[in-house]
Amino acid sequence: MSAVSPGAKPYYFLPQPSHWPITGSLALLLMGTGAAFWFNRYAAGPWIVLAGFCFLLVMLFGWFGTVIGESEGRLYNKKVDLSFRWGMSWFIFSEVMFFAAFFGALFYVRNISTPDLGSALTGRELWPNYAAQWPTVGPYIKQQFSPMNAIGIPLLNTIILVSSGGTLTLAHHALKAGHRGALKFWLFVTIALGFTFLGLQAFEYHHAYTELNLKLSTGVYGSTFFMLTGFHGAHVTIGAIMLTVMLVRAFRGHFDAEHHFGFEAAAWYWHFVDVVWLLLFVLVYWL
């Protein structure tokens, strides 16, 4: 850490009191309680969730709006910038651990519980007719299904997502070089690729449900398949929304070559989503 260099900006940035956090808390309270009611068949449930979601949107617009305002007002100095970098990195790390829980579950059901269900002890005593193989619906559920093939939509989606990582990098270079037009173009391409990915995934799910008889309730194969790809899809959606916001900001003339951490954060997130997909492709679809 270098010497004190207050300069024009204050050495530290201290935000004013804010009511956005409490709005967010109210939103989550409503969404959590509402979902609990919903899942237990209370008619009011979905409406409470909706109300909470509206609060959440208001909060997100308000809060990020404030941050963007402060940023464009050049209230942030290098220290704040660095704080944001640390913050985003560790946030992404926490997301990695969230996915780790589900990858861990996949590993466990494939390599430990399925073989165990067919083992000499458990298999012989309880499930004599069970052939413990992956993919599986488990020893009790009587249902035929076909697993998802890796070649086809999943491979196409891999290509799409990897290239979107490339186009995003092009956009970043354009931003640093001050080529605003190229920035907007490549950012737009990235977002378009992201939504194409989502569209294809929706199609794939439809295919699974209608033709492969592969559902969320199709034993552990269905559980792990849909939970992993589903949470990934949710993250792609969030990432695409983040990038869209960045595109809007680019059109409004935000960012310059030096000062564009918002953009970079969205890009980091996008690359993280990308890497998760590669793991998914190998571990869920391929192997």
Partner: protein, 531 residues
Amino acid sequence: MSSITQPIGGHEHAHDDHAHHPTGIMRWVTTTNHKDIGTLYLWFSFTMFIVGGCMAFVIRAELFEPGLQIVTPEFFNEMTTLHGLIMIFGALMPGAVGFANWMIPMQIGAPDMAFARMNNWSFWLLPPAALMLLISLFVPGGAAGGGWTLYPPLTIEQGMGMDLTIFAIHIMGASSIMGSINIITTILNLRAPGMTLMKMPLFCWTWLITAYLLIAVMPVLAGAVTMLLTDRHFGTSFFNAAGGGDPILFQHVFWFFGHPEVYIIILPAFGIISEIIPTFSRKPLFGYASMVYAVAAIAILSFMVWAHHMFTTGLPTAGILFYMYATMLIAVPTGVKVFNWLATMWKGSISLEAPMMFALGFLFLFVIGGFTGLVLGIVPLDVALHDTYYVVAHFHYVMVAGTLFAFFGGVYYWLPKWTGHMYDESLAKWHFWLSFILFNVTFFPMHFLGLAGMPRRVPDYPQQFADWNMVSSIGAFGFGLSQLVFLYAVIKCIRGGKPAPAKPWDGATSLEWTLPSPAPYHSFETPPVVR
């Protein structure tokens, strides 16, 4: 640790430049100030301690005698579950974050936390989560009654209280993750010039490492309860053998979170103790560097021992041996800490004010709890003791006499800095002795109960356990009531008392003691230079 410190330009920043701050309740709701938020956290923690303590009252009242007297078994299970969840997620973790909020900026020479607004959200997520846990008592089917460990399939069977619990855990997890990101960033980025990492007070170090543990495990817990949720409502089979899943999978995922979690609870307490003991021994902390390494070692090992909670599930022998050895190994770095504290006291000039009393009480009782942990870590003994009251005794020794006592010590230690007044020493001493004695009356007999084979989470028990249970219940009522002394002492100190000097403890060295008491609203508006 920093020995000589000198703030640049003195302390003339007592002026409050934010004249347009909201007042009244909105001040607290919208605040972005680390001290306000720290205060909120601490009061929230204490409130939850009382709520969870009242649930412990219900538990101990029902267990006063054999037979079913006061509550139904269902309600008893709900009390046990909520008591565990509320004490851990509502009392101890927020308490630790409260200390972090107050002390970290002051100890590293920063004005506030790195993300002051997000800091507010970290706190204000907790009341809704607590509210959801309490609402769950009143929904059809009652609150979650499967124990704080939430093992399926029992928790799959339960009613909507379980869903509220799951969402409450999601929200508390989000709060912890944001809090940790904030703490890490503050420590890495906002240290005053010259405050190298290896000069930081140990409290900051323990929190830095705790925050990493939190970021690594809270998302895993979120994943675990999410799978529980989908198994409950959306037909997935993660924990259902019929579909190829396994109830034990939940235990693996839960304890991958759960074991680091217990160190999340104890490490900040270690930090507080490492501040108090040198101060009242008037001697620098012995083996500062090895203390840091020991904390890091504990944190790393904590990811390799989780299956010691599952020794009776029938894991393969090789796995069991590995987890046993790794578990036993944790005694080494913990021992290093204990010995360093002793060496700090050795040849010091010791005085026994209330914070030091609590630190010594901590040391004495935590080591007992550590030893019982070691006993549980040894598989053949765990086969005899798993899920008995011996385990209950173990974790109350490390969490109540461990963490909670450290918090009490920390509160007395820093109250002068927080309020500008000295607390009432004799009240504090009363609080200590009542707590110390009644704690042991409550929890020591539980070792005997466990050794003799009394299972935990039961509302009723065979007659040969009657004697010790009655002793324990009497102790529990006394221990709970003694906490009123604490409440009174704190309120008294807030409302007045002997004015506290900037540095009321002559042995104290860290940066916060260079600020006046009470500390100014923004701790260091220009960074001090640490040499």
